[in-house]
Amino acid sequence: MRAPGGPGMRRRRRAAAVALQALALGAVVVGLGVLVVLLFDVLRDGAGTLTWTFLDSFPSRRWQQAGFKAAIFGSVYLLVLVAVISFPLGVGAAVYLEEYARRSAMTRFVEINIANLAAVPSIVYGLLGLGVFVRTLGLGRSLLAGALTMSLLILPVIITAAREAIRAVPASIREGAYALGASRWQVVRHHVLPMALPGILTGTILALSRAIGETAPLIAIGALTYVAFVPESVFDPFTAMPIQIYNWVSRPQQGFHAIAASGILVLLVVMLGFNALAIVLRARMQRRSQW
């Protein structure tokens, strides 16, 4: 069968296809290119000052002695706490909304709100955290207050991702299990969650990556930038990598700018490390849940 239209039309169509492909390639090059340039820039500035002393020292007024230790520990503790708080809450909420809640005006209202909360600027969460956790609940400028604030920030993302993953489990699997006399919880526990887990973990990884880089809410709740100790309990004050970097960048001395670049490198490595861990975890769970 011949396509309708003459050779002119065919040529135009081919030209359009080529143009679209070029556009898509261009988008990839620009996106990745900017990232590579940024990375090289940071490497050039920060690689020289990235020493063991830098990693193992507390902040100082002199950049030669200033280190990142408190910020590294603060961020890692914060991230672990946020994961522990937000993962069960997020997955629980998603399971409830998808598997238990009846469709009603109330659940629709909740759904719309979750979608909107994901778009609320992070500084607003910071102010909420300051009001609720720091002041009202009297947690002070503690690690726990920071973790709770961050958890609120990423919960909508986790809930939305988990719901998508749960919804992707085919209805035929649920029906098969129900027809064997499984209760709702048994269906969720043995079939829905194991099948949805890879998707849930992917969403959680993305959300946690966002949390480790967030600065505004921590500044709003008043996390300190001069912390000369490693937090020993969740009620201790803390600092985090992005805050420390922000603080160093805003100083006039060139030396601080260099160690800020070193800090960015550490932040990237820690973030990639956590992502890699989560991916390994996901792969292992996937294998196990299959058989």
Binding site: P170, S172, I173, A177, L180, G181, A182, Q186
Partner: protein
């Protein structure tokens, strides 16, 4: 069904041995009236086929019998469905318990994405069996005529089986928890003729121990395997009686038109 036909089917179908029955059953999905005033009895240890064109309510009726319709939002059911004389829609009936006695096979094979062994062990575990499950797994696989094909690969994924094998695995899975009744929703519609023949043989064998209700759009299949046949059209039960009589001397002209292939 007219009163005369109702009287006739009452004489033809032994209602005293009914494992399941419906009385004046109506189902609405939102505003659409999917099942209209259906009264049927499913005699014990026999195969009852429900036939009719697509969208006539066969599957809806089947799903009322073990309360699988409960999950569909906006569904409304009136009338009575009795399992061994007890109303299954009574407030004190737990649908989870009910489904342990009334198993179901679906149109498309739906094995769990787990091993062959785990597919069967799941039903056993949630129903309280402990200890070594292998003998029971083996027994139900033998019942479903699948054991010889899978005995050496019980730990392999069920998804690696062929469509016909998957459907027999689903039957084995249902049999493992020793139900009383099996509901089958077009169990062969996704299978090739060879696999269909095997499933049909299996269904005929299972009749000795189970009451089976099978929905099919394949009239030859209904004629081959079933003892009783119900013909449905637009949500109504048109005719019900012994399969042989329905296929040779249908009382209603619409039944005759359908089984002779004039519509549907």
């Amino acid at each position: 069904m007219s009163e005369a036909q109702a009287a006739q089917s009452a004489a033809e179908v032994p209602s005293g041995l009914a494992a399941l029955s419906t009385e004046g059953l109506n189902v609405w999905y939102g505003t659409s009236h999917a099942i209209q005033d259906v009264s049927l009895t499913f005699p014990e240890r026999s195969i009852t086929a429900i036939i009719g064109p697509s969208g006539c309510g066969k599957s809806t009726l089947l799903r009322c019998l073990n309360r699988m319709n409960d999950f569909i939002p906006g569904v409304r059911i009136t009338g009575r469905v009795a399992y061994r004389g007890e109303d299954i829609y009574a407030p004190d009936v737990d649908p989870v318990e009910l489904r342990r006695s009334i198993g179901m096979i679906f149109q498309k094979p739906n094995p769990f994405p787990k091993s062959i062994y785990e597919n069967i062990a799941f039903g056993l575990r949630i129903n309280g069996y402990r200890g070594d499950l292998l003998p029971r797994v083996e027994r139900s696989l033998r019942q479903a005529a699948l054991w010889d094909e899978v005995r050496d690969r019980l730990r392999d994924s069920a998804l690696a089986l062929s469509g016909g094998q998957q459907q027999r695995l689903c039957i084995a899975r249902a049999l493992a928890i020793e139900p009383d009744i099996l509901l089958m929703d077009e169990p062969c519609s996704a299978l090739d003729p060879t696999a269909t023949a095997r499933i049909e043989d299996l269904i005929t064998e299972l009749k000795a121990s189970y009451t089976i209700v099978i929905v099919t759009h394949n009239m030859q299949q209904a004629a081959r395997v079933s003892d009783y046949t119900a013909f449905m059209l637009n949500g109504r039960l048109i005719e019900f009686g012994p399969t042989e009589r329905i296929f040779t001397r249908p009382a209603d002209e619409r039944t005759e038109a359908y089984i002779t292939g004039r519509f549907g």
